[in-house]
Symmetry: D3
Subunit: 132 residues, 6 copies
Amino acid sequence: MAVARLIEYEGASPEVRAVYDDIRATRQTDYVNNFWKALASDPATLKRTWESTKQIMSPGALDVLTKELIYIAVSVTNQCPYCIASHTVSARNKGMTGEMFHELMAVVGMANETNRLVAGYQVEVDERFKNA
Amino acid sequence: MAVARLIEYEGASPEVRAVYDDIRATRQTDYVNNFWKALASDPATLKRTWESTKQIMSPGALDVLTKELIYIAVSVTNQCPYCIASHTVSARNKGMTGEMFHELMAVVGMANETNRLVAGYQVEVDERFKNA
Amino acid sequence: MAVARLIEYEGASPEVRAVYDDIRATRQTDYVNNFWKALASDPATLKRTWESTKQIMSPGALDVLTKELIYIAVSVTNQCPYCIASHTVSARNKGMTGEMFHELMAVVGMANETNRLVAGYQVEVDERFKNA
Amino acid sequence: MAVARLIEYEGASPEVRAVYDDIRATRQTDYVNNFWKALASDPATLKRTWESTKQIMSPGALDVLTKELIYIAVSVTNQCPYCIASHTVSARNKGMTGEMFHELMAVVGMANETNRLVAGYQVEVDERFKNA
Amino acid sequence: MAVARLIEYEGASPEVRAVYDDIRATRQTDYVNNFWKALASDPATLKRTWESTKQIMSPGALDVLTKELIYIAVSVTNQCPYCIASHTVSARNKGMTGEMFHELMAVVGMANETNRLVAGYQVEVDERFKNA
Amino acid sequence: MAVARLIEYEGASPEVRAVYDDIRATRQTDYVNNFWKALASDPATLKRTWESTKQIMSPGALDVLTKELIYIAVSVTNQCPYCIASHTVSARNKGMTGEMFHELMAVVGMANETNRLVAGYQVEVDERFKNA
């Protein structure tokens, strides 16, 4: 309950297995990573989180690589080591080059800096940005 | 010094004017937004921040719109109202559609959720994600 | 000074021992965890932090388990691994079941998601929520 | 697209109306707050977020008031003014007294303080908290 | 209970008045700012928070101005508008010049940037920094 | 690309070597820490970040030790283990005593606590703090 107990396919209930099967089919890999195996101790959250993730991360107006970059940007800002490690691998698998990663980091770093300059200088929103 | 005193072009020193001129030329607009006018009370930070921003946000391995989306992702995660307002306008000017914005928000929201599930369940990094 | 030097009871000053004694008596256990042993290098902060914690975490209008759940919610949101590990154990000792932990995580995850949707969509506070 | 356009029931599509109807029925009130009216510009996110919220915030191993307190703890830690305002009202409607609110704030404040003391003193996790 | 009800001296209980009197005497001003008037709805938290603040912010190995700068650094990082506004005024009253404020902002901005570069690049702690 | 590949002087390009040389000369040490060796995979970011850091952290209206204390305050608030470890060592090398470190931690802890009390109680900015 404290540190995540990882639930393997073999010992999983039918409803957990159904999610694992869908993860494997959707991602076209046999590998199910620790995050899902940890959530599996709560099948309702496993199912809801997977279905939301599947819906949100699928290609749409934004392609899947752009979505991975955004995911990494959030995870780096929140200082989540697991999320950074897993989504960096995932982004590479979807085509992120070293150069793209470097530019992503540069933007994330700069945005975190300017977010604080804005706060510290108490900058008020420009009229033209309101209700734009 | 507390709330940002905004420095207008007319009352600016030559070094501040030079930055404003470069902002206008680079962005192809006469408008200089409040952030820069606030930073202008410290010309060294104004110049360094603008030059870094110009370098980082220019097109490279990532296009300028993708960089704006990443900027918004960070600003939303950090809850910076000014940054969200200004970069949302900026992203629209660079081609962000309503559908793209909606997908951006969905990914940012989901990443913030799963970042905490990972932390709370104390999920350990998969061996295959280490030194990948 | 950098990594916490842990001060054991045997080598502690009388004022540090007095706090350790009170921790043991209050918690009805001989165990003093690393957090307190690290703070002991600054007896004033040790004493102030323990006395504040003792006052705040004691049963009142909220029971002690509810207070532990709130503590975990904050620690997960802040991504503090030590705090998550220690307070999850503490909450279990006070009666948190696996099912309660799962629901806690679900709420924490969802709140972190909707906090960002609110920011990103720049939602204004409803009139009826002001000065309610 | 930038500042949230609020979609009222009268101008809403059938799928948005269905969510509003379910919000009203579930909460036993005619009032739909701005958050949902803003999300309605993206019906997929509106539906997914509402259904997740409804599932997560319903009574289970934790009662609805405890869940609201946890929601507030996260929102205060993230400094989300809208979320604090709306969920404080919501918690009061579910029975939160002034005394409970005060104790909630005290725990949230203390947890945010000790989270940083742990980080700054670089306290390592006690062996007994690992794999507990 | 939701938005802070501010308790004025005239309508305050003796225990709240005692804290207000001590704030005034310690700060050598008649003014009690809104933060304390809001906390006064919970006299126990008012008293504990004031006494901790008084102890922590008094001159010691660090002078009072340095402590104010640190306070601002935290408040800017957490994006707390009230705290930034009030402590910037307080720091000025204790001798912060415009130049000092500018350098403070530059350091805070840079630290927020490099904190994320470290996380994103998954930089491991140098051996020589461990147990230093 | 995922976990930072550390680039040593021997295998570095001339532009990376130039930055390493300047780090060594500026800091009067042969040691280049992992952060810079990780950034070296992106020479543009290495150079920009080093030059900004050099400019910002040099003595000015604030002395170098005060700047290190501010850096630690931000890093602790953001829960960045690498940054806390490296800058604590750096601050000690610049004269931070144990007592100064203890006071720094106390202020950082208290500021993180009061930031949330302000948010939770929805305290409005005093008129006298606006445009001060």
